[in-house]
Amino acid sequence: MSQLPRLDTEQLRAKYPAVFDRPASARLAMPATIVAALAIFVFGLVDLDFSPSKLISGISQLGWITMMMIPPNPGASFPLYMHALGETLSIAVLGTTLAAVVALPVSLLATRNIIPSNFIRFPVRRFLDSIRGVDTLIWALVWINVVGLGPFAGVLAIAVSDFGAFGKLFSEAIEAADRKQVEGIRASGGSALHEIRFGLLPQVLPVIAGQVLYFIESNTRSATIIGIVGAGGIGLQLAEQIRVLEWQKVSFLILMILIAVAAIDFISSKLRFAIIGQRAVA
């Protein structure tokens, strides 16, 4: 067995001073960050009234609740829950579509290659940002004030909050589109309308369709929660059953939500793949 050559540490030290003698600031940066993060964490625990006794009693309570949840059982309300689930899916599909339809023209105003002037683009972008800064639940509360309790308020809430997100995403998709195809159309004598129809739209449409599908998927989740404030769907049933402590029904409803979300995930990922595949072929 051969002996490995012995390393001359002194020589290495002299050769790579940056590795062996790091300045104190570089060596202390990481521990200092960790200590600061922990300090804020501990302050947070104290400020938010965390106490071990509360935690233990809460966890035992939670264990008890979990025991009560088994087995999941809808009782006699199964048809009602299926109807509520249908309502939730309708809210997601309709809200997302409405948002996409309204967001498309507005997103053009926020796009650099269509509106070169900062003057219009900047306020439109900030407007979209502020809409996105407000949570869907808050929009749901506002719409309930306007059109009353029920799923319609949910549709409008999802539509408004997605409008902000779509406006931003669509304008980014349009900005990312390749100019070469548009120039090609112009070179062959196409009008401005032809440029948009044959140069821009084929590039942008699949991206937009993919995003809309993805949002329908994620809105199925959002639509389950806006019911909690009274905007219809399965969330309404869930919140009610939690408040009256019907744990078997609660666990059944949660299972229903999980299955519905998984099914929508599956369908929309298949569809998205089909659309993107089509683009690769065309």
Binding site: F41, L48, L94, G133, F152
Partner: protein, 294 residues
């Protein structure tokens, strides 16, 4: 330089054009069918969601005037003419806002720690056993799919009203979301260092610590910061179900029609979310360069 465009003989052209037409026709048929199906789905959904266009038209004025009202003080003046009156409760609101940010901070940190502990078991290339991977994956999926506010509703009953329920709800949801993202980073990591460490006879734990962790820690921090940003938004509504934070004030203001308070609280939330968006974006850009900004 003029180039003559050669035109194919009519017979050859006809074949090509036929092929082109049939290809386009097939594509058109597909697109029409897809549109028809989508419209049918929309109509069914419209019935399901009890859409009533007449209600919308009747009350759309209310939606617009709602914003008119929330920007009007009780004295009838516009809110921006008297900022002192508009933000009369700023001390209370700032305290609640601080609580909201703390809730999301503590929740994100706890969630990130749990996600960190679990993600090596969920990643395909580092998981010690398939059954363990399957279990952890399902667990993370469950934590991710059940909305945070549903956890909050249940926790409020188990742990009592207050920010603790909100923190735990955010922590669980965050564990699910970050666990998946972390596992994906690990799956993209280079496995050669792991082989190197294992060839020295190291345990699984040392392999993770010395071969995988140095590759993935920057990505972890980046995603955790991004999640913090999302959690601030989520924590702002935790108060709706009594789980602490500024949501409590907001829901009271909306339900009791304290119009100018609604706009004042909304403006504070939006500004805070902006500031946190910008600062975490800046921090991530600074720490990890442009390419890791997910």
């Amino acid at each position: 330089m003029a180039t003559a465009v050669s035109i194919l003989p009519a017979q050859q052209l006809a074949v090509l054009e036929d092929a082109y037409r049939s290809a386009v026709a097939r594509k058109r048929l597909k697109a029409t069918l897809a549109t028809a199906v989508f419209c049918a789905v929309l109509v069914v959904a419209a019935f399901g969601a009890e859409v009533n266009l007449r209600t919308l038209f009747t009350y759309f004025g209310n939606f617009v005037s709602y914003f008119d009202r929330i920007f009007t003080l009780e004295s009838g003046a516009r809110v921006w003419t008297d900022p002192v009156e508009w933000f009369w409760g700023w001390q209370k609101w700032l305290r609640m806002l601080g609580e909201t940010i703390l809730i999301s901070y503590v929740g994100t940190l706890v969630g990130a720690v749990f996600a960190f502990a679990l993600n090596f078991f969920a990643a395909q290339n580092t998981s010690p056993a398939p059954w363990l991977r399957f279990t952890v994956r399902r667990l993370l999926e469950f934590a991710r799919t059940v909305p945070g506010i549903v956890f909050a509703l249940i926790f409020v009953i188990a742990f009592g009203l207050g920010p603790m329920a909100g923190v735990l709800a955010i922590a669980i949801h965050c564990t699910g979301a970050l666990g998946k993202l972390f596992a994906e980073i690990v799956e993209n990591a280079d496995m050669k260092p792991v082989e190197g460490i294992r060839s020295t006879g190291a345990s699984w734990l040392s392999c993770m610590r010395f071969a995988v962790l140095p590759q993935v820690s920057a990505g972890y921090a980046s995603y955790a910061l991004l999640r913090f940003e999302i959690n601030v938004r989520e924590a702002s509504v935790m108060g709706f179900v009594g789980a602490g934070g500024i949501g409590q004030e907001l829901v009271v203001a909306i339900r009791k029609f304290y119009y100018s308070d609604v706009s004042a609280i909304l403006v504070t939330i939006i500004i805070t979310v902006f500031i946190i968006d910008i600062s975490t974006g800046w921090l991530r850009g600074r720490l990890f360069g442009k390419e890791t900004r997910g």
